[in-house]
Amino acid sequence: MNRPLLILLGALALGAAIFTGSYFVSQRTCEMCLTVHQDDLSWLRTEFHLSDAEMAHIRELHEGYLLQCADMCAKIAVKKGEVESALGNGTNITAEAQTKLNELAALRAQCQAQMLRHFVTVSQAMPPEQGQRYLAEMKKLTLGLHEQIEQSMSGETGHEHHH
């Protein structure tokens, strides 16, 4: 291999090393600096540019919601236990098991409705534009996943759901 080509390759390797090194050092430093002092609500403050007063109100709403959420989760856990015992080891779904499944679905629907109501309440505690953006984002994050799963399943199996 001739000398100019070796020098060129060496220069390219050095340049790549400088770029990659500074990229990773900067990325790690940025992550370390920004993740310090973060709690569950930090994203709301930075993403929706909220003031301290707005954040205090939202924190209050959030803590109130968490109690309701924990209560609902406990109910769902109990109902899941009931469904499992109703299903037992049998190969058929009994009338009792069907009833328990319906009750579990109803509880999950209640939980989802409660969550959506919380999103609406929080969005109202924000400036109007930010509130709308928050609501749209939260619907997308919490409900969009079901749509993606349904779409992927209908695409894979060739079935289509007609609602």
Binding site: P4, L5, I7, L8, A11, L14, G15, I18, F19, T20, G21, S22, Y23, F24, V25, S26, Q27, R28, T29, C30, E31, L34, T35, Q38, D40, L41, S42, W43, L44, T46, E47, H62, Y65, L66, C69, M72, C73, I76, R108, C111, Q112, M115, H118, M138, L141, T142, L145
Partner: protein, 104 residues
């Protein structure tokens, strides 16, 4: 007296010229001299693009500027990617705190 001295100098000079040995020239001396003159007068042969690039790269000012540029670009991109990753993690953390896994 002076005329006598001048005639002696002329004789001495002729004697000295006669006694000096002139070395014999190497073979094809004249031809080689002309070839070297022609080579010297010929335009400089152009370098390949690779050599030109290497010459540019090896200039200290260019090398330093490129290194600084790469360092800056890497740091900028890294900071951007880092902040995006932190934002994504914070968002996931908030969603996990309010939406139970069974509903997502």
């Amino acid at each position: 007296m002076k005329e006598n001295m001048n005639s002696n100098d002329a004789k001495l000079s002729a004697l000295l010229r006669g006694s000096r040995l002139s070395p014999s020239l190497p073979p094809r001396f004249q031809e080689n001299v002309w070839r070297r003159i022609e080579d010297a007068e010929a335009p400089v042969k152009s370098e390949s693009w690779l050599e030109a690039l290497v010459i540019l790269i090896l200039r200290p000012r260019f090398a330093f500027a490129t290194a600084v540029l790469l360092l800056f670009a890497g740091a900028l991109l890294g900071a951007h990617e880092g902040s995006q990753a932190v934002r994504h993690d914070a968002q996931a953390r908030y969603v996990a705190s309010i939406a139970p896994d069974s509903l997502r």
